[in-house]
Protein backbone atom coordinates (compact mmCIF):
# COMPACT_ATOMS: atom_id res chain seq x y z
CA UNK A 1 0.00 0.00 0.00
CA UNK A 2 1.26 3.44 -0.81
CA UNK A 3 0.40 6.85 0.57
CA UNK A 4 0.75 10.47 -0.43
CA UNK A 5 1.00 13.72 1.48
CA UNK A 6 -2.49 15.20 1.61
CA UNK A 7 -2.16 18.02 4.14
CA UNK A 8 0.62 20.03 5.79
CA UNK A 9 0.50 22.49 8.64
CA UNK A 10 2.60 24.05 11.37
CA UNK A 11 2.39 22.95 14.97
CA UNK A 12 3.85 24.06 18.30
CA UNK A 13 5.89 21.16 19.63
CA UNK A 14 6.21 20.17 23.26
CA UNK A 15 9.73 21.61 23.47
CA UNK A 16 8.65 25.05 22.23
CA UNK A 17 9.81 24.77 18.66
CA UNK A 18 7.76 24.91 15.49
CA UNK A 19 7.31 21.55 13.81
CA UNK A 20 5.62 20.45 10.61
CA UNK A 21 2.70 18.03 10.76
CA UNK A 22 2.34 16.07 7.54
CA UNK A 23 -0.82 14.09 6.91
CA UNK A 24 -0.47 10.96 4.79
CA UNK A 25 -3.51 9.54 3.05
CA UNK A 26 -3.38 5.86 2.11
CA UNK A 27 -5.02 4.15 -0.87
CA UNK A 28 -7.81 2.84 1.31
CA UNK A 29 -8.61 6.33 2.60
CA UNK A 30 -6.87 5.88 5.94
CA UNK A 31 -4.87 8.80 7.24
CA UNK A 32 -1.87 9.17 9.49
CA UNK A 33 0.00 12.20 10.76
CA UNK A 34 3.78 12.47 10.93
CA UNK A 35 5.46 15.27 12.91
CA UNK A 36 8.72 16.51 11.41
CA UNK A 37 11.37 18.55 13.21
CA UNK A 38 12.82 21.64 11.49
CA UNK A 39 15.83 19.85 10.02
CA UNK A 40 13.80 16.99 8.58
CA UNK A 41 11.22 19.45 7.26
CA UNK A 42 13.93 21.37 5.47
CA UNK A 43 15.38 18.21 3.96
CA UNK A 44 11.90 17.17 2.83
CA UNK A 45 11.35 20.55 1.18
CA UNK A 46 14.68 20.26 -0.62
CA UNK A 47 14.05 16.69 -1.74
CA UNK A 48 10.67 17.71 -3.16
CA UNK A 49 12.08 20.93 -4.65
CA UNK A 50 9.32 22.78 -2.82
CA UNK A 51 9.51 26.46 -2.04
CA UNK A 52 6.30 26.41 0.00
CA UNK A 53 4.91 23.64 2.12
CA UNK A 54 1.74 23.54 0.03
CA UNK A 55 3.92 22.12 -2.74
CA UNK A 56 4.50 19.03 -0.60
CA UNK A 57 0.92 17.94 -1.16
CA UNK A 58 0.76 15.00 -3.51
CA UNK A 59 4.32 13.85 -2.80
CA UNK A 60 4.90 10.16 -2.14
CA UNK A 61 5.40 8.94 1.46
CA UNK A 62 8.85 7.67 0.56
CA UNK A 63 10.02 11.26 0.43
CA UNK A 64 9.28 11.51 4.14
CA UNK A 65 10.99 8.23 4.84
CA UNK A 66 14.10 9.35 3.00
CA UNK A 67 14.07 12.80 4.62
CA UNK A 68 13.85 11.21 8.05
CA UNK A 69 16.72 8.88 7.20
CA UNK A 70 18.88 11.72 5.88
CA UNK A 71 18.06 13.89 8.88
CA UNK A 72 18.90 11.08 11.29
CA UNK A 73 22.17 10.31 9.57
CA UNK A 74 23.30 13.94 9.43
CA UNK A 75 22.29 14.51 13.06
CA UNK A 76 24.00 11.34 14.25
CA UNK A 77 27.23 12.12 12.51
CA UNK A 78 27.18 15.67 13.71
Amino acid sequence: MTAVISHVHLNAAHEGIAELIVTLTFENGGQSQVPLDPNTSSILMSRCQASDWSELIGQDWTQIRDALTESFNTSSTG
Binding site: L10, G16, I17, A18, L20, Q33, P35, P38, D52, S76
Partner: protein
Protein backbone atom coordinates in the same frame (compact mmCIF):
# COMPACT_ATOMS: atom_id res chain seq x y z
CA UNK B 1 -2.58 23.96 68.77
CA UNK B 2 0.62 25.33 67.29
CA UNK B 3 -0.92 27.35 64.51
CA UNK B 4 -4.37 28.72 63.70
CA UNK B 5 -5.57 29.96 60.33
CA UNK B 6 -8.39 32.38 61.14
CA UNK B 7 -11.25 33.85 59.13
CA UNK B 8 -10.48 32.03 55.90
CA UNK B 9 -12.79 30.42 53.37
CA UNK B 10 -12.00 26.74 53.18
CA UNK B 11 -12.12 24.87 49.87
CA UNK B 12 -11.25 21.49 51.27
CA UNK B 13 -10.07 19.71 48.12
CA UNK B 14 -13.07 17.37 47.83
CA UNK B 15 -14.89 19.63 45.40
CA UNK B 16 -17.52 20.49 48.02
CA UNK B 17 -18.67 24.11 48.20
CA UNK B 18 -16.31 26.39 50.09
CA UNK B 19 -17.20 27.33 53.64
CA UNK B 20 -16.05 29.71 56.35
CA UNK B 21 -13.92 28.05 59.00
CA UNK B 22 -10.83 28.39 61.10
CA UNK B 23 -8.16 25.70 60.85
CA UNK B 24 -6.16 24.50 63.82
CA UNK B 25 -2.82 22.75 63.35
CA UNK B 26 -1.11 20.67 65.99
CA UNK B 27 2.37 19.35 65.26
CA UNK B 28 2.22 18.84 61.52
CA UNK B 29 -1.42 17.82 61.20
CA UNK B 30 -4.80 19.48 60.89
CA UNK B 31 -6.38 19.11 64.32
CA UNK B 32 -9.45 21.34 64.06
CA UNK B 33 -11.82 22.68 61.40
CA UNK B 34 -14.51 25.10 62.56
CA UNK B 35 -14.87 28.26 64.51
CA UNK B 36 -12.13 29.01 67.03
CA UNK B 37 -12.30 31.71 69.67
CA UNK B 38 -9.58 33.69 71.40
CA UNK B 39 -9.72 31.27 74.30
CA UNK B 40 -8.72 28.44 71.95
CA UNK B 41 -5.50 30.12 70.93
CA UNK B 42 -3.33 29.26 73.95
CA UNK B 43 -0.34 31.02 72.48
CA UNK B 44 -0.68 29.47 69.05
CA UNK B 45 0.63 31.49 66.13
CA UNK B 46 -2.30 32.98 64.17
CA UNK B 47 -2.55 33.59 60.44
CA UNK B 48 -5.38 35.89 59.37
CA UNK B 49 -6.81 34.54 56.11
CA UNK B 50 -9.77 36.91 55.83
CA UNK B 51 -10.93 37.17 52.21
CA UNK B 52 -8.66 34.34 51.16
CA UNK B 53 -9.12 30.74 50.13
CA UNK B 54 -7.60 28.11 52.41
CA UNK B 55 -6.88 25.10 50.24
CA UNK B 56 -4.87 21.90 50.44
CA UNK B 57 -1.38 22.39 49.03
CA UNK B 58 -1.19 21.79 45.30
CA UNK B 59 0.49 18.65 43.97
CA UNK B 60 2.54 18.77 40.77
CA UNK B 61 2.71 15.23 39.39
CA UNK B 62 5.08 15.72 36.47
CA UNK B 63 8.39 17.40 37.24
CA UNK B 64 12.10 17.01 36.67
CA UNK B 65 13.44 18.68 39.81
CA UNK B 66 15.73 15.68 40.46
CA UNK B 67 18.94 17.65 40.01
CA UNK B 68 17.71 20.95 41.42
CA UNK B 69 16.77 19.24 44.69
CA UNK B 70 20.48 18.63 45.24
CA UNK B 71 21.17 22.37 45.55
CA UNK B 72 17.68 23.74 46.26
CA UNK B 73 15.48 21.75 48.61
CA UNK B 74 12.57 24.11 47.97
CA UNK B 75 12.49 23.45 44.21
CA UNK B 76 12.05 27.17 43.68
CA UNK B 77 9.80 28.63 42.52
CA UNK B 78 7.35 25.74 42.91
CA UNK B 79 6.32 26.52 46.48
CA UNK B 80 5.53 30.16 45.83
CA UNK B 81 3.02 28.95 43.23
CA UNK B 82 1.23 27.01 45.96
CA UNK B 83 2.79 23.63 45.21
CA UNK B 84 3.61 21.63 48.32
CA UNK B 85 4.37 18.22 46.78
CA UNK B 86 6.26 17.45 43.58
CA UNK B 87 6.81 14.23 41.68
CA UNK B 88 10.29 14.15 40.09
CA UNK B 89 11.83 11.27 38.14
CA UNK B 90 9.38 11.29 35.24
CA UNK B 91 9.98 10.12 31.66
CA UNK B 92 12.27 7.18 32.60
CA UNK B 93 14.84 9.57 34.10
CA UNK B 94 15.66 9.79 37.78
CA UNK B 95 19.03 10.41 39.40
CA UNK B 96 19.08 7.02 41.08
CA UNK B 97 19.87 4.20 41.13
CA UNK B 98 23.04 5.23 39.32
CA UNK B 99 26.46 3.61 39.27
CA UNK B 100 29.44 5.96 39.18
CA UNK B 101 30.42 4.89 35.68
CA UNK B 102 27.05 6.01 34.29
CA UNK B 103 26.99 9.50 35.76
CA UNK B 104 28.15 11.31 32.65
CA UNK B 105 25.72 9.29 30.55
CA UNK B 106 22.88 10.51 32.73
CA UNK B 107 24.14 14.09 32.62
CA UNK B 108 24.02 13.83 28.82
CA UNK B 109 20.46 12.54 28.89
CA UNK B 110 19.32 15.26 31.30
CA UNK B 111 20.98 17.83 29.09
CA UNK B 112 19.39 16.51 25.92
CA UNK B 113 15.91 15.83 27.24
CA UNK B 114 15.47 18.35 30.05
CA UNK B 115 17.97 21.05 29.00
CA UNK B 116 19.81 20.87 32.32
CA UNK B 117 23.29 22.31 31.58
CA UNK B 118 26.38 20.14 32.10
CA UNK B 119 27.89 22.84 34.31
CA UNK B 120 24.94 22.65 36.68
CA UNK B 121 25.98 19.08 37.43
CA UNK B 122 29.73 19.71 37.50
CA UNK B 123 29.43 22.71 39.81
CA UNK B 124 26.20 22.07 41.69
CA UNK B 125 26.31 18.35 42.37
CA UNK B 126 28.50 16.29 44.66
CA UNK B 127 28.11 12.76 43.42
CA UNK B 128 27.89 10.97 46.73
CA UNK B 129 25.16 8.44 46.04
CA UNK B 130 24.56 5.39 43.90
CA UNK B 131 21.46 3.65 45.25
CA UNK B 132 17.97 5.14 45.36
CA UNK B 133 18.13 5.01 49.14
CA UNK B 134 21.36 7.04 49.14
CA UNK B 135 19.87 9.65 46.78
CA UNK B 136 16.81 9.99 49.01
CA UNK B 137 19.01 10.40 52.07
CA UNK B 138 20.99 13.04 50.21
CA UNK B 139 18.03 15.24 49.23
CA UNK B 140 16.30 14.73 52.57
CA UNK B 141 19.04 16.69 54.31
CA UNK B 142 17.62 20.02 53.17
CA UNK B 143 14.11 19.42 51.90
CA UNK B 144 11.52 22.19 52.12
CA UNK B 145 9.02 20.79 49.61
CA UNK B 146 7.47 17.32 49.78
CA UNK B 147 8.80 14.88 47.21
CA UNK B 148 7.13 11.77 45.80
CA UNK B 149 9.98 10.45 43.64
CA UNK B 150 9.68 8.07 40.73
CA UNK B 151 12.38 5.57 39.82
CA UNK B 152 13.38 5.86 36.18
CA UNK B 153 13.18 2.77 33.99
CA UNK B 154 16.21 3.89 31.97
CA UNK B 155 18.20 4.01 35.21
CA UNK B 156 17.17 0.49 36.18
CA UNK B 157 18.33 -0.77 32.79
CA UNK B 158 21.65 1.07 32.97
CA UNK B 159 22.34 -0.31 36.44
CA UNK B 160 21.60 -3.91 35.47
CA UNK B 161 22.71 -4.05 31.83
CA UNK B 162 25.38 -1.38 31.51
CA UNK B 163 25.80 -0.13 27.97
CA UNK B 164 23.72 -3.04 26.66
CA UNK B 165 20.74 -1.16 28.11
CA UNK B 166 20.97 1.04 25.03
CA UNK B 167 21.20 -1.82 22.57
CA UNK B 168 18.93 -4.78 23.22
CA UNK B 169 16.12 -6.41 25.15
CA UNK B 170 16.96 -7.81 28.56
CA UNK B 171 17.47 -11.49 29.34
CA UNK B 172 15.09 -13.10 31.87
CA UNK B 173 17.87 -12.89 34.45
CA UNK B 174 18.35 -9.19 33.79
CA UNK B 175 14.60 -8.58 34.03
CA UNK B 176 14.62 -10.31 37.41
CA UNK B 177 17.50 -8.12 38.52
CA UNK B 178 15.59 -5.01 37.43
CA UNK B 179 12.55 -6.18 39.39
CA UNK B 180 14.67 -6.63 42.51
CA UNK B 181 16.19 -3.20 41.97
CA UNK B 182 12.76 -1.60 41.54
CA UNK B 183 11.65 -3.26 44.75
CA UNK B 184 14.64 -1.72 46.55
CA UNK B 185 13.71 1.70 45.14
CA UNK B 186 10.13 1.34 46.35
CA UNK B 187 11.26 0.31 49.81
CA UNK B 188 13.51 3.40 49.80
CA UNK B 189 10.58 5.66 48.96
CA UNK B 190 9.86 5.51 45.23
CA UNK B 191 6.25 6.31 44.46
CA UNK B 192 6.40 4.31 41.25
CA UNK B 193 8.22 3.75 37.99
CA UNK B 194 8.55 6.05 35.00
CA UNK B 195 9.22 4.93 31.46
CA UNK B 196 9.33 6.47 28.00
CA UNK B 197 8.51 5.30 24.52
CA UNK B 198 9.61 8.58 22.99
CA UNK B 199 12.70 10.25 24.40
CA UNK B 200 16.12 10.36 22.76
CA UNK B 201 19.46 10.54 24.52
CA UNK B 202 22.36 12.91 23.88
CA UNK B 203 23.46 10.83 20.87
CA UNK B 204 19.94 11.10 19.45
CA UNK B 205 19.50 7.40 20.15
CA UNK B 206 16.50 5.99 22.01
CA UNK B 207 16.81 6.17 25.80
CA UNK B 208 17.36 2.77 27.47
CA UNK B 209 13.71 2.27 28.45
CA UNK B 210 12.76 2.20 24.78
CA UNK B 211 14.69 -1.04 24.28
CA UNK B 212 12.53 -2.87 26.80
CA UNK B 213 10.33 -5.73 25.68
CA UNK B 214 6.66 -5.87 26.65
CA UNK B 215 7.60 -8.77 28.94
CA UNK B 216 10.05 -6.53 30.79
CA UNK B 217 7.44 -3.83 31.37
CA UNK B 218 4.98 -6.51 32.44
CA UNK B 219 7.41 -7.90 35.01
CA UNK B 220 8.16 -4.45 36.41
CA UNK B 221 4.43 -3.68 36.55
CA UNK B 222 3.99 -6.82 38.59
CA UNK B 223 6.38 -5.37 41.19
CA UNK B 224 4.42 -2.11 41.12
CA UNK B 225 1.22 -4.05 41.70
CA UNK B 226 2.64 -5.83 44.73
CA UNK B 227 3.30 -2.44 46.32
CA UNK B 228 0.34 -0.49 44.86
CA UNK B 229 2.64 1.91 43.05
CA UNK B 230 2.08 3.89 39.87
CA UNK B 231 3.47 3.58 36.33
CA UNK B 232 4.15 6.84 34.46
CA UNK B 233 4.61 6.66 30.71
CA UNK B 234 5.65 9.09 28.01
CA UNK B 235 3.59 7.84 25.12
CA UNK B 236 3.81 8.74 21.43
CA UNK B 237 1.84 11.93 22.08
CA UNK B 238 2.30 13.18 18.52
CA UNK B 239 0.38 10.25 17.00
CA UNK B 240 -3.22 9.34 17.76
CA UNK B 241 -3.01 5.72 16.61
CA UNK B 242 0.06 4.95 18.69
CA UNK B 243 -1.48 6.73 21.67
CA UNK B 244 -4.59 4.57 21.40
CA UNK B 245 -2.40 1.47 21.31
CA UNK B 246 -0.51 2.63 24.41
CA UNK B 247 -3.77 3.30 26.24
CA UNK B 248 -4.80 -0.27 25.54
CA UNK B 249 -1.43 -1.60 26.65
CA UNK B 250 -1.53 0.41 29.87
CA UNK B 251 -5.11 -0.68 30.50
CA UNK B 252 -4.10 -4.32 30.27
CA UNK B 253 -1.19 -3.74 32.65
CA UNK B 254 -3.49 -1.87 35.01
CA UNK B 255 -6.09 -4.64 35.07
CA UNK B 256 -3.58 -7.48 35.23
CA UNK B 257 -1.48 -6.02 38.04
CA UNK B 258 -4.05 -3.75 39.70
CA UNK B 259 -1.91 -0.68 39.17
CA UNK B 260 -2.61 2.93 38.31
CA UNK B 261 -0.99 4.17 35.13
CA UNK B 262 -0.63 7.66 33.72
CA UNK B 263 0.46 8.87 30.32
CA UNK B 264 1.75 12.33 29.59
CA UNK B 265 1.55 14.72 27.91
CA UNK B 266 -1.75 15.02 26.08
CA UNK B 267 -2.02 18.20 24.02
CA UNK B 268 -5.02 19.67 22.29
CA UNK B 269 -4.14 21.61 19.16
CA UNK B 270 -6.50 22.83 16.49
CA UNK B 271 -5.32 20.11 14.14
CA UNK B 272 -5.67 17.17 16.53
CA UNK B 273 -9.01 17.90 18.20
CA UNK B 274 -10.50 14.84 16.53
CA UNK B 275 -7.59 12.73 17.68
CA UNK B 276 -7.94 13.94 21.27
CA UNK B 277 -11.64 13.12 21.14
CA UNK B 278 -10.76 9.59 20.03
CA UNK B 279 -8.17 9.32 22.78
CA UNK B 280 -10.61 10.44 25.45
CA UNK B 281 -13.25 8.03 24.17
CA UNK B 282 -10.73 5.21 24.51
CA UNK B 283 -9.72 6.40 27.97
CA UNK B 284 -13.37 6.47 29.04
CA UNK B 285 -13.91 2.97 27.66
CA UNK B 286 -10.89 1.57 29.46
CA UNK B 287 -11.75 3.35 32.70
CA UNK B 288 -15.26 1.89 32.45
CA UNK B 289 -13.64 -1.57 32.27
CA UNK B 290 -11.95 -0.85 35.56
CA UNK B 291 -8.55 0.03 34.17
CA UNK B 292 -6.77 3.06 35.62
CA UNK B 293 -5.19 5.01 32.75
CA UNK B 294 -4.93 8.72 33.48
CA UNK B 295 -3.89 11.15 30.75
CA UNK B 296 -2.12 14.26 32.02
CA UNK B 297 -3.10 17.58 30.49
CA UNK B 298 -1.21 20.80 31.12
CA UNK B 299 -2.95 24.11 31.64
CA UNK B 300 -0.51 26.43 29.91
CA UNK B 301 -0.49 26.94 26.15
CA UNK B 302 2.62 26.14 24.13
CA UNK B 303 4.83 28.96 22.94
CA UNK B 304 7.30 28.80 20.06
CA UNK B 305 10.78 30.28 20.52
CA UNK B 306 13.37 31.02 17.85
CA UNK B 307 16.48 32.98 16.95
CA UNK B 308 17.97 33.53 13.53
CA UNK B 309 20.93 31.23 14.13
CA UNK B 310 18.68 28.19 13.77
CA UNK B 311 16.11 27.81 11.00
CA UNK B 312 12.59 28.02 12.37
CA UNK B 313 9.58 26.64 10.56
CA UNK B 314 7.75 29.82 11.49
CA UNK B 315 9.44 31.26 8.40
CA UNK B 316 8.65 28.37 6.13
CA UNK B 317 6.03 30.29 4.18
CA UNK B 318 8.48 33.13 3.54
CA UNK B 319 10.81 31.54 0.97
CA UNK B 320 13.46 34.28 0.98
CA UNK B 321 13.69 34.25 4.76
CA UNK B 322 13.63 30.51 5.03
CA UNK B 323 16.29 30.06 2.37
CA UNK B 324 18.42 32.66 4.11
CA UNK B 325 18.21 30.81 7.43
CA UNK B 326 18.50 27.36 5.92
CA UNK B 327 21.39 27.76 3.52
CA UNK B 328 23.56 30.46 5.08
CA UNK B 329 25.83 30.67 8.07
CA UNK B 330 25.67 33.27 10.79
CA UNK B 331 27.90 35.83 9.08
CA UNK B 332 26.02 35.49 5.81
CA UNK B 333 22.70 36.06 7.54
CA UNK B 334 24.09 39.15 9.27
CA UNK B 335 25.42 40.39 5.93
CA UNK B 336 21.99 39.96 4.36
CA UNK B 337 20.34 41.95 7.17
CA UNK B 338 22.98 44.66 6.77
CA UNK B 339 22.58 44.93 3.00
CA UNK B 340 19.90 47.62 2.38
CA UNK B 341 18.67 46.01 -0.81
CA UNK B 342 18.34 42.52 0.60
CA UNK B 343 16.85 43.81 3.82
CA UNK B 344 14.22 45.70 1.84
CA UNK B 345 13.32 42.55 -0.06
CA UNK B 346 13.04 40.61 3.19
CA UNK B 347 10.83 43.18 4.86
CA UNK B 348 8.51 43.38 1.86
CA UNK B 349 8.08 39.60 1.89
CA UNK B 350 7.37 39.58 5.64
CA UNK B 351 4.87 42.45 5.67
CA UNK B 352 1.93 40.09 5.35
CA UNK B 353 2.76 38.52 8.73
CA UNK B 354 3.03 41.80 10.64
CA UNK B 355 0.48 40.72 13.32
CA UNK B 356 2.80 37.84 14.22
CA UNK B 357 5.91 40.04 14.40
CA UNK B 358 4.07 42.63 16.48
CA UNK B 359 3.04 40.05 19.06
CA UNK B 360 6.51 38.49 19.35
CA UNK B 361 8.18 38.92 22.73
CA UNK B 362 11.91 39.47 23.09
CA UNK B 363 13.05 36.51 25.20
CA UNK B 364 16.79 36.76 25.53
CA UNK B 365 19.69 39.00 24.56
CA UNK B 366 23.41 38.96 25.24
CA UNK B 367 24.10 42.69 25.49
CA UNK B 368 23.54 44.75 28.60
CA UNK B 369 22.23 47.57 26.44
CA UNK B 370 19.18 45.56 25.36
CA UNK B 371 18.63 43.64 28.59
CA UNK B 372 15.88 45.98 29.76
CA UNK B 373 13.87 45.18 26.62
CA UNK B 374 13.55 41.48 27.46
CA UNK B 375 9.90 40.65 28.03
CA UNK B 376 8.58 43.45 25.80
CA UNK B 377 6.68 42.85 22.59
CA UNK B 378 8.36 43.82 19.35
CA UNK B 379 5.48 46.20 18.74
CA UNK B 380 6.36 48.04 21.95
CA UNK B 381 10.07 47.97 21.20
CA UNK B 382 9.40 49.20 17.68
CA UNK B 383 7.23 52.02 18.99
CA UNK B 384 9.92 53.01 21.46
CA UNK B 385 12.49 53.09 18.66
CA UNK B 386 10.26 54.86 16.19
CA UNK B 387 9.98 51.90 13.86
CA UNK B 388 7.79 48.81 13.44
CA UNK B 389 8.01 45.32 14.92
CA UNK B 390 9.57 43.74 11.85
CA UNK B 391 12.36 46.30 11.65
CA UNK B 392 12.88 45.98 15.39
CA UNK B 393 13.27 42.20 15.03
CA UNK B 394 15.96 42.64 12.39
CA UNK B 395 17.70 45.45 14.28
CA UNK B 396 17.78 43.50 17.52
CA UNK B 397 19.12 40.45 15.70
CA UNK B 398 21.91 42.56 14.24
CA UNK B 399 22.70 44.24 17.55
CA UNK B 400 22.89 40.82 19.21
CA UNK B 401 24.70 39.17 16.30
CA UNK B 402 21.73 36.81 15.93
CA UNK B 403 21.75 36.06 19.66
CA UNK B 404 18.34 37.70 20.17
CA UNK B 405 15.68 35.11 20.98
CA UNK B 406 12.01 35.74 20.24
CA UNK B 407 8.85 34.07 21.45
CA UNK B 408 5.57 33.58 19.68
CA UNK B 409 3.07 33.02 22.49
CA UNK B 410 0.08 30.70 22.54
CA UNK B 411 0.87 28.83 19.33
CA UNK B 412 -0.49 25.49 20.51
CA UNK B 413 -2.79 23.96 23.13
CA UNK B 414 -4.42 27.37 23.08
CA UNK B 415 -8.11 26.85 22.38
CA UNK B 416 -9.19 27.89 25.85
CA UNK B 417 -12.73 26.54 25.62
CA UNK B 418 -11.61 23.17 24.30
CA UNK B 419 -8.69 22.88 26.71
CA UNK B 420 -10.97 23.94 29.57
CA UNK B 421 -13.41 21.18 28.68
CA UNK B 422 -10.56 18.69 28.65
CA UNK B 423 -9.22 19.87 32.00
CA UNK B 424 -12.70 19.50 33.49
CA UNK B 425 -13.08 15.93 32.22
CA UNK B 426 -13.36 13.53 35.18
CA UNK B 427 -10.88 11.12 33.59
CA UNK B 428 -8.19 13.76 33.02
CA UNK B 429 -5.45 14.52 35.48
CA UNK B 430 -4.14 18.08 35.48
CA UNK B 431 -0.37 17.87 35.26
CA UNK B 432 2.47 17.63 32.78
CA UNK B 433 4.03 20.91 33.92
CA UNK B 434 7.57 19.55 33.39
CA UNK B 435 8.67 21.70 36.35
CA UNK B 436 12.43 22.02 36.49
CA UNK B 437 12.92 20.99 32.85
CA UNK B 438 13.42 22.89 29.58
CA UNK B 439 14.93 25.62 31.72
CA UNK B 440 16.57 27.42 28.80
CA UNK B 441 13.47 27.42 26.61
CA UNK B 442 10.49 28.40 28.74
CA UNK B 443 9.18 28.57 32.28
CA UNK B 444 7.58 25.42 33.60
CA UNK B 445 6.19 27.10 36.71
CA UNK B 446 2.87 28.79 37.37
CA UNK B 447 0.54 26.30 35.68
CA UNK B 448 -1.53 26.18 38.87
CA UNK B 449 -2.03 29.94 38.94
CA UNK B 450 -2.91 29.85 35.25
CA UNK B 451 -5.54 27.17 35.98
CA UNK B 452 -7.38 29.63 38.22
CA UNK B 453 -6.88 32.81 36.19
CA UNK B 454 -7.70 31.34 32.79
CA UNK B 455 -9.98 28.38 33.37
CA UNK B 456 -11.78 29.35 36.60
CA UNK B 457 -12.06 33.12 36.29
CA UNK B 458 -11.83 33.90 32.55
CA UNK B 459 -13.48 30.86 30.95
CA UNK B 460 -15.57 29.51 33.85
CA UNK B 461 -14.61 26.04 32.63
CA UNK B 462 -14.17 24.79 36.18
CA UNK B 463 -15.49 25.98 39.50
CA UNK B 464 -12.84 27.05 41.97
CA UNK B 465 -13.70 24.04 44.09
CA UNK B 466 -13.32 21.62 41.19
CA UNK B 467 -10.04 23.19 40.09
CA UNK B 468 -8.66 22.78 43.61
CA UNK B 469 -9.91 19.19 43.77
CA UNK B 470 -8.21 18.35 40.48
CA UNK B 471 -4.78 19.47 41.70
CA UNK B 472 -5.05 18.26 45.29
CA UNK B 473 -7.19 15.29 46.33
CA UNK B 474 -7.57 13.88 42.83
CA UNK B 475 -3.82 13.93 42.29
CA UNK B 476 -3.15 12.51 45.74
CA UNK B 477 -5.62 9.69 45.20
CA UNK B 478 -4.31 8.83 41.74
CA UNK B 479 -0.70 8.80 42.94
CA UNK B 480 -1.38 7.01 46.20
CA UNK B 481 -0.14 9.96 48.26
CA UNK B 482 -1.64 9.32 51.69
CA UNK B 483 -3.12 11.84 54.11
CA UNK B 484 -2.61 14.78 51.78
CA UNK B 485 -4.76 16.62 49.29
CA UNK B 486 -7.65 17.51 51.61
CA UNK B 487 -8.34 19.88 54.47
CA UNK B 488 -9.38 17.16 56.87
CA UNK B 489 -8.81 16.54 60.55
CA UNK B 490 -5.88 14.18 60.94
CA UNK B 491 -4.40 14.98 57.54
CA UNK B 492 -0.93 16.48 57.09
CA UNK B 493 -1.14 20.28 57.14
CA UNK B 494 0.06 21.07 53.62
CA UNK B 495 -1.96 24.22 53.00
CA UNK B 496 -2.01 26.98 50.39
CA UNK B 497 -3.69 30.29 51.20
CA UNK B 498 -4.48 32.46 48.19
CA UNK B 499 -6.51 35.37 46.86
CA UNK B 500 -9.24 33.87 44.61
CA UNK B 501 -9.50 36.98 42.47
CA UNK B 502 -5.77 37.45 42.01
CA UNK B 503 -4.13 34.05 41.83
CA UNK B 504 -2.26 33.82 38.55
CA UNK B 505 1.13 33.17 37.00
CA UNK B 506 3.34 36.24 36.70
CA UNK B 507 5.49 37.32 33.81
CA UNK B 508 8.19 34.99 32.58
CA UNK B 509 11.78 36.18 32.97
CA UNK B 510 15.34 34.96 32.69
CA UNK B 511 17.36 34.55 35.89
CA UNK B 512 20.95 33.47 36.55
CA UNK B 513 20.57 31.13 39.52
CA UNK B 514 21.60 27.73 38.20
CA UNK B 515 24.94 26.37 39.48
CA UNK B 516 27.76 27.10 37.08
CA UNK B 517 26.42 30.62 36.42
CA UNK B 518 23.60 29.07 34.42
CA UNK B 519 20.35 30.72 33.45
CA UNK B 520 16.75 29.58 33.43
CA UNK B 521 13.30 30.94 32.73
CA UNK B 522 11.07 31.32 35.79
CA UNK B 523 7.81 33.02 36.72
CA UNK B 524 6.76 34.68 39.91
CA UNK B 525 3.38 33.85 41.40
CA UNK B 526 0.52 36.26 41.86
CA UNK B 527 -2.12 36.02 44.57
CA UNK B 528 -0.43 33.35 46.69
CA UNK B 529 -0.42 34.60 50.27
CA UNK B 530 1.13 31.83 52.36
CA UNK B 531 2.12 28.22 51.90
CA UNK B 532 2.40 25.75 54.76
CA UNK B 533 4.20 22.45 54.41
CA UNK B 534 3.72 19.96 57.21
CA UNK B 535 2.27 22.71 59.35
CA UNK B 536 5.32 24.95 58.94
CA UNK B 537 5.36 28.22 57.03
CA UNK B 538 7.42 27.55 53.90
CA UNK B 539 6.61 30.72 51.96
CA UNK B 540 4.77 33.95 52.52
CA UNK B 541 4.08 36.70 50.07
CA UNK B 542 5.44 39.29 52.48
CA UNK B 543 8.53 37.51 53.74
CA UNK B 544 9.41 35.11 50.97
CA UNK B 545 10.85 31.68 51.65
CA UNK B 546 11.62 30.51 55.15
CA UNK B 547 14.63 28.34 55.71
CA UNK B 548 12.70 25.66 57.53
CA UNK B 549 13.48 22.20 56.10
CA UNK B 550 9.85 21.12 56.45
CA UNK B 551 9.45 18.84 53.45
CA UNK B 552 9.59 15.07 53.42
CA UNK B 553 9.52 12.07 51.11
CA UNK B 554 5.88 11.08 50.74
Amino acid sequence: MDLIIKNGTVADGTGAPRFAADIGITDNRISHIGQLTESDHHGAKVIDAAGKIVSPGFIDPHTHFDAQLLWDGAAKPAIEHGVTTIVPGNCSLSLAPLKAEHRMKLVGMFNQIEEMPHKAFSEGVTWDWETFDEYISRIQQDLTINVAPLAGHSLLRLWVMGNDAMARVATPEEVNAMCELLEQCIVAGATGLSTSFVDMDERLQPVPSRYASTEELDALSNVLGQHQKILQVVHEFYDTDLTLARIDQLAELSLKHDITTTLSPLFLNADNAQGVAQIMTRIDEQMARGARVWPQVQTRPIDISFCFEVPSLLFMRLPTWYALMRFNDKEQIIAAFEDPERRAALTIEAQSMMPLWSALVLRKVESAANARLVGMTLEAIGAERGTNALEAMIDLSLEERLGAHFLAANMGHNDDDAVGELLRHPNVMIGASDGGAHILSFSTYGDTGYLFSKFVRDCSALSLELAIKKITSDTANIWGIKERGEIKVGYIADITIFEPDDIDRGQEYFVQDVPGDGYRYVRDALGIDQVLIQGKLAFSHKEGYTSAPCGQIV
